[in-house]
């Protein structure tokens, strides 16, 4: 995500290399690059203009500290301003209401309200240990209620059925009453997608808001939206007292301009970002971390949190002990690592959060292939326990059998064994000389990293 923005800004630093200090003339080009980079990322034009002005004023006033190059100083200013633009700190959900705390979802058609409702329910249930009730007031789109019902079912979250014949307000009142009587902590109300210029529909959601008196009214916006996103956000904000924003589909591709402009325009914090199609793909929004990500500094904190959330601690410790004791790292361990990695959202999710310096050698399009991990798993699954523990015994005839079992070519089995051998060496190295050396040796060794 946001790669192109990062790339452009990296280019900007280069142009500033070798300059003694930041002056009006030498930051002119840099500022223009920032402007184009932001516009190409679909950041709203008024926001871009203000942002560039701000950066210019700040950068000119900046005396370059000796330890910093002008490029670094400039990036420092951009980072600071980006963080400010997106909201200074992360703001979680406020559920400080007499239960049930009501969360109302609003947004355009296809922005991802229903999926986000599901993800939010899961997040509240698992992270905050809340008893959550889901209800859909979307009586317009065919099968919208059904969609949320199925999501709720797969999340094992309670769902209150409604029908397309009921009025949205009646559904809302019914749900509120139900939630109260059954002691739910949180009630999440999904609504139909609507255009901000559709007066009848906007009146309806206003009525919903009145009936529910939600503690959180979240505006759901698609990260791929163009210049109009801010107008929509503003129009919704004018009708509804929004309390926050969810930016969805942020894993889609390089742009994410909406994330930059929406806070500025609505003055409401972005509370969550949706990534990935799986129901785990919801992250609390951390402005400073995203700013780092944009600037190519990586979002290592989120990566660590991801890992903590998904990685099986016991497994990890077992492996660490094994390596510490100098025991051989075998294919069984390798496989369990792959599984852990998959749980953390797969390679591509992790790559997004690594610093650009580490990932820049990997081709942008199709660089990371999560599927390759599945193939590797398949190959290992086709081996006997003996073979997994002592890969050395795998010779031609065993290779043939494994390849046939996994449905791959013998070459692929060979490649895996080679990769594994190198990894094994590295593990030994690590047990002796620590992590840094290992990272250096790591290039090209994870399956799925082409290039």
């Amino acid at each position: 995500m946001l790669d192109q923005l990062t790339e452009r800004l990296s280019g900007v630093i280069k142009t500033l290399r070798g300059q003694a200090r930041l002056t009006e003339s030498n930051i002119q080009d840099a500022l223009r690059e920032v402007r184009i980079a932001l516009l190409e990322a679909d950041v709203a034009l008024p926001v871009v203009k203000r942002f560039v002005e701000e950066v210019k004023t700040k950068a000119l006033g900046q005396s370059v500290i000796t330890s910093l190059t002008p490029g670094q100083a400039f990036i420092g200013v951009v980072h600071e301003e980006l963080t400010k633009l997106m909201g200074e700190k992360s703001e979680g959900l406020s559920l400080l209401a007499q239960p049930p705390a009501v969360v109302l979802m609003a947004g355009l058609q296809g922005s991802g309200k229903t999926t986000s409702s599901g993800k939010l329910a899961k997040w509240l249930k698992e992270q905050e240990k809340k008893k959550v009730l889901l209800v859909s007031c979307d009586v317009y789109r065919p099968a919208a209620i059904e969609q949320l019902k199925i999501l709720a079912g797969s999340l094992q979250v309670d769902f209150l059925d409604s029908s397309a014949n009921e009025s949205p307000v009646a559904i809302a009142e019914k749900a509120l009453d139900y939630a109260r009587r059954h002691f739910f902590d949180v009630l999440i109300v999904d609504t139909a997608g609507r255009l901000a210029i559709d007066e009848a529909m906007m009146t309806e959601i206003k009525a919903l808001h009145q009936a529910l008196n939600p503690i959180e009214t979240l505006f759901v916006v698609d990260a791929m939206q163009g210049q109009d996103a801010v107008n929509t956000a503003k129009a919704f904000g004018d009708t509804l007292p929004l309390t926050g924003v969810i930016v969805t589909k942020l894993d889609g591709d390089a742009r994410g301009g909406v994330a930059l402009s929406v806070k500025e325009v609505t003055q409401k914090p972005i509370k969550f970002v949706g990534t990935g199609e799986k129901l785990t793909g919801l992250e609390v929004f951390h402005p400073d971390r995203i700013a780092s990500r944009i600037l190519g500094m990586g979002d290592v904190l989120s990566l660590i949190e991801d890992a903590q959330r998904h990685v099986d601690q016991a497994e990890a410790e077992k492996l660490a002990n094994k390596i510490k004791k100098g025991l051989d790292f075998d294919l069984e361990d390798f496989k369990s690592q792959l599984i852990q990695m998959k749980k953390a959202g797969g390679l591509s999710a992790m790559m997004d959060k690594l610093p650009a310096q580490l990932t820049k050698n990997i081709p942008q399009q199709g660089g990371v292939d999560d599927k390759a991990m599945n193939r590797v798993e398949g190959i290992i699954n086709s081996m006997t326990q003996q073979e997994r523990r002592f890969p050395g015994i795998i010779k031609a005839s065993r290779k043939k059998r494994i390849a046939a079992g996994a449905g791959v070519s013998v070459q692929e089995v060979n490649r895996l064994l080679n990769q594994f051998e190198q990894m094994q060496k590295m593990m030994k190295m690590m047990s002796r000389s620590g992590l840094t050396k290992m990272m250096r040796g790591m290039k090209g060794m994870i399956p799925g990293l082409r290039g």
Partner: protein, 319 residues
Amino acid sequence: MFSFFKKSPKENTSPAPTQEGWLTRLKSGLKKTRDNLQNKVSGLFTGRLNDEWFNELEEALILADVGVKTAQLLIKNLKIKAKEERVEEAAELKPLLRSMLIDLLSPLERSFDPDRAKPFVLVFAGVNGAGKTTSIGKLAQHLKNHHYSVLLAAGDTFRAAAVAQLVAWGERNQVDVITQEKGDSAAVIFDAIQAAKARQIDVVLADTAGRLPTQLHLMEEIKKVKRVIAKADPSAPHEVILVLDANTGQNAITQVKAFDEALQLTGLIITKLDGTARGGVVAAIAGECPKPILFIGVGEQLDDMQPFSANSFVDALIE
């Protein structure tokens, strides 16, 4: 010139939508775009030309999602033209900009001709929430109005209740929908084509699950869908359509490129032009990765699906 099917022999018997009606709808659909450009642009077409003026025009274009690259190109050419023709007043530039936009967009016009094959198979692809299923519903209605028999294939086997959504559309239009309890999209669509052959159906509209171009495994999956369709009928699919939300910003370019690479698109459908969306992204597509636009969605009504005309589009945009 605005007839729905240029070569349709059935056209005479069909209740063709009146020109007036849809042009008005397109205009009102694009009204916001126009307002937006107008606030900026028509106010702009006064006074004398200078660099500042061109900068303002560039910003107006960018605000309409035309994109930096295409906007800069348009401005560059406009400057050259202005010099050539010794234009000094901004007002005189309006027809020039208009004809430049029409030149840019007219290669995207293409007629839709479902009589080329029977069954005529269309596959719909796109990102999540672009409006694939709704577009299929509208197009099915349109085709039915023009006396084609239609079969829908519920190929979105991933999203919860996507099948139910398509079935609901089928019921509204009284069109049969092929579904499977469990199965992948390729299999469902294969079945639908076989069924269409057996039932002598004219057109098959195949839905697929929404996917982002960065989800490589899903892009592979949809390639497979296309391959399997060719197994059911070597000449199919006859149209591979990317459904694009008009609200999309510059990401639209990435989408068109990625889906084209995977599927060799034959056309686009631009949805949700009735909102505050600006048609500007269409110009960006024309500039950077032109693909014909088969239809545009300009309203919530079932029949608000219209063919794309560069002339009307530009008129609605800047007149």
